[in-house]
Symmetry: C2
Subunit: 353 residues, 2 copies
Amino acid sequence: MNTPTSGAPRRATISDVAREAGTGKTSISRYLNGELSVLSPQLRARIEAAIERLDYQPNQMARGLKRGRNRLIGMLVADLTNPYSVEVLQGVEAACHALGYMPLICHAANEVDMERRFLQLLTTYRVEGVIVNALGVSEETLRPVGGGGIPAVLVDRSVDGLVTDMVGLDNEGATTLATRHLVERGFERLWFVVQPFEHISSRRQREAAFHRALEQYPQVKGRTVVLELGDADELAQTLNALDDELDAAIAAFDASPNVPRVALFAANGPVALALARHLNQRHGPNWQKRVALLSIDDPEWAELAGITTIRQPTYDIGYRAVEFLHQRIDGEQTSARDCLLPGELIERASTAR
Amino acid sequence: MNTPTSGAPRRATISDVAREAGTGKTSISRYLNGELSVLSPQLRARIEAAIERLDYQPNQMARGLKRGRNRLIGMLVADLTNPYSVEVLQGVEAACHALGYMPLICHAANEVDMERRFLQLLTTYRVEGVIVNALGVSEETLRPVGGGGIPAVLVDRSVDGLVTDMVGLDNEGATTLATRHLVERGFERLWFVVQPFEHISSRRQREAAFHRALEQYPQVKGRTVVLELGDADELAQTLNALDDELDAAIAAFDASPNVPRVALFAANGPVALALARHLNQRHGPNWQKRVALLSIDDPEWAELAGITTIRQPTYDIGYRAVEFLHQRIDGEQTSARDCLLPGELIERASTAR
DNA sequence: CTGTTAGCGCGTTCAC
DNA sequence: GTGAACGCGCTAACAG
């Protein structure tokens, strides 16, 4: 009951090509795998003609099944909405291209269920390795991966209890750099704004580094503000509370220029965007004059808004991740490595004197 | 610390499970495929135990090879950097999830070579269908797809000479809506800014619709400005030329409020961002006071900048695309369909009176 | 140089 | 109910 001439003309198989070229499957296989030196010029020509005529394309699934490696690697992204992720992705793609892998991109969309589901799916497709930008909550869901399972490398953040290669930003260095910049520009009240950070290593490190950096500047006051971006109500509430304090601080500054200037330090791009939107909505396009904003991450709109940022070496992060993975896939047995890349300060109007 | 046995403990196969459960492969297969009614409760229990014990995961590749369908569909994205694409992607993912497909996401990064390469790769992996946001240049590269090849549905733009299902924005309606809005708000000099549009159907349609809409308003002057975003030099040059004219128009308006007000109409998000960055750089944060900006596409920063936009039903576009594809995969034989979804006007400060 | 043979992991008759 | 045997498309010995 197969459809006569319908949709799928059934692709040609290696046997079809062999028959068409009047030879055996082996020669075709050899041709496909570049063992050209072992083929007589005429046979080779016949094969080429047959392939052309049948528009033959080798079936990756089948060859993967046979040789045990399908050149597939999984890339699990926590949130593609975050420009950071897309940039990392570009590095991953470039490296895959260069190393002959095909990245299977999965998007968890910030949902833990998705993360688990995709991880499961990836192992089911027998990917040779995964590079994971984890939601970070659950070491449990990463079970099939890492140590005992398929090779894995983490991006941006590590996961408690999971020992694997990791590549990300040098949070300590970046945060220190940013903090020092703010202090040097004369800001003496610094508010570090961050999403809930207990369970996300990168956020945790940044928050800690911020306070550690401040120990060098006794005259500067810093505090941490936690922003829950996921919950609109709670977000609005926190922002409003922030407003009151900010207003007071700014009023004091307006009254007497000797009062310390205030700066907001966003732990990442999404936080910075939330802050900018709120401030803009509340104070209009000149909000920048009232409060400085600095952010780790350098999204496209940062230049538009004129905020100072720490740009992450996103492309390199992705590229290195694949290189690490490649080594593991090749059987590298060294113990887990961390690769911390430096951030770059992009100074813009926001923190100018 | 290091792996006890060598790198890959070789995953369990169906045979392993059969042996472990003291039965044949057939029963395992049946269990996996939900034909539970045909299994004695005890056998079933033994199978479950064996699977659990061996942490068995069926090999998708192998089962795909056997049954001829691997539940893989390809998603070829022209530019993940464009928030539009990511949003569409979310719809695609949701639909795939619902329909039991696994999307293989490929990112052409605006390179025609990549597009061709990925398309080739996708057919090589025997995806059951592809949804393509084409760069649009080459009908040639889409040869393996559509009519004779694997089912395909186009997103956002069609490709000349390729008949397939397509789903995207109702460009005519959206453009008319935006144009009317500008006119009603009192703008009488409208500049439609767009990337080179000859070869991209959606841009072409928007440009045409813009001028068609203007025919209804004889008092309004409109013109098209082409912006080449890829080439930094040319971009700067065009923008500078634009400035001169804009300055003149604005000066005239300042001098006599009777002179028609000027508005920029960006054909899509990337264009809008380029314009906004440039204007901001040139006129400071208050550039909005000098010239209005409206854009098709509603990226995150639009609210921050306060520009009026036409929001595309991106999620639905992605979702519908997969639904179309699903029908084709299921053997639907109807002729190519177009699905044009309406845009929504989001009015912001930029075009307020 | 070239063809034959035996599986890779799985689903599917078709007998028992 | 259950299992043996065959084949999906391809590669890898192993002969000629």
